[in-house]
Amino acid sequence: MKNEWPLWEVFIRGQHGMSHRHVGSLHAPDAEMAIKNARDVYTRRNEGVSIWVVEAAAITASSPSDKGPLYEPSESKVYRHPTFFDIPDEVGAM
């Protein structure tokens, strides 16, 4: 029998309009308790307005050993950065 609760990854939205950000992980028996635990562990200092939790096992991650083929090809493609356009001041922060 497995005695450990599953691991959950926690994402918190700090303010309305911002995106959820990964803040850490915790253990909980189910999703509802994971939300409650996240509230208690990660929002004690008024950090959030919304919480997402996802079981860590449900996340598929890229492999660190693949970083050559995955990321290096984009290093030489500076034209993909939108730095060649003049942006009018009225547009403000983008």
Binding site: W5, L26, H27, A28, K36, N37, R39, V41, R44
Partner: protein
């Protein structure tokens, strides 16, 4: 009135009754807050440890405003800290339920659940108190307590309807603590004075809603409520606390007793 009659029946002034009511509210949160804080660093898992510490801190925060107001109304120049740290067991007005020992984690959560269910109902009523200060405290505290109740109820269900071991422990906790439930719904001349002034409800009126709230959760938790309605009492009147309160106070108050007036 003769002197003898006055001695036999010391009539409470409205102010004295109000102070007693405020002490009852503040002592409940103080003693339970301290009890829950005893888990700090000892809870079964880190997540529960932090959750319990949060609850304890909520309760101590509420204590500061209840006892602060009690001290103000009393008008003897005392502070909330004076009331918390310099009174002895017989001056405390908390329910016996909240001074009961933590026992195992299940017993702690069962005590929390039985108290939260009452606390939430009480604060809901106090939101419409004729005394604005009381209404303001209730407004703030009821949000915290709504969460406490949600959490304790859910844990009682998970453990009650969990393994055979957890079920048996929760049933034992319920059997042990049930005799301390009835005291929450007792009523005396202090409650009558509060009800008349529109400050607080008569506690007896909360019982039906409480029974519904609690029996729904306990049914889902597959736990059986003991049939006896026998109620241990003496906490909220200060007449007879359990032997556990003195030990708790010894720990909670030792610093102020050993080093009077110490600050940091």
């Amino acid at each position: 009135m003769t002197a003898a009659a006055a001695k036999a029946q010391p009539a409470l002034t409205q102010q004295e009754a109000f102070v007693q009511f405020l002490l009852r509210m503040g002592d409940n949160t103080l003693i339970l807050g301290h009890r829950v804080s005893e888990w700090c660093g000892h809870a079964p898992v880190l997540e529960e440890d932090i959750a319990l510490a949060n609850i304890a801190l909520d309760l101590i925060g509420q204590t500061q405003i209840w006892l602060g107001l009690a001290a103000d109304v009393q008008g003897e120049g005392k502070s909330a800290d004076d009331l918390a740290f310099l009174r002895d067991a017989w001056d405390f007005r908390n329910l016996l339920l909240v001074e009961m020992p933590n026992g195992d984690f299940g017993q702690t959560l069962m005590r929390q659940f039985l108290f939260d269910a009452w606390h939430g109902l009480m604060l809901e009523q106090l939101k419409s108190s004729s005394d604005e200060r009381v209404a303001a405290i209730a407004e703030k505290a009821s949000k915290e307590v709504a969460y406490h109740f949600e959490r304790s109820a859910e844990t009682v269900i998970s453990l009650g309807d969990g393994t055979e071991e957890s079920h048996n422990r929760m049933q034992a906790a319920l059997d042990y603590l049930w005799p301390y439930v009835g005291e929450m719904f007792l009523s005396d001349e202090i409650d009558a004075a509060m009800e008349q002034a529109g400050i607080a409800p008569d506690p007896t009126t909360l019982r039906d809603a409480y029974d519904t709230r609690v029996s729904d959760v306990l049914a889902e938790a597959t736990l059986t409520i003991p049939e006896s309605r026998f109620a241990q009492k003496g906490g909220r009147t200060g007449q007879m606390h359990t032997e556990h309160l003195g030990h708790l106070l010894t720990q909670m108050q030792w610093l102020q007793r050993a080093y009077p007036g110490a600050k940091w």
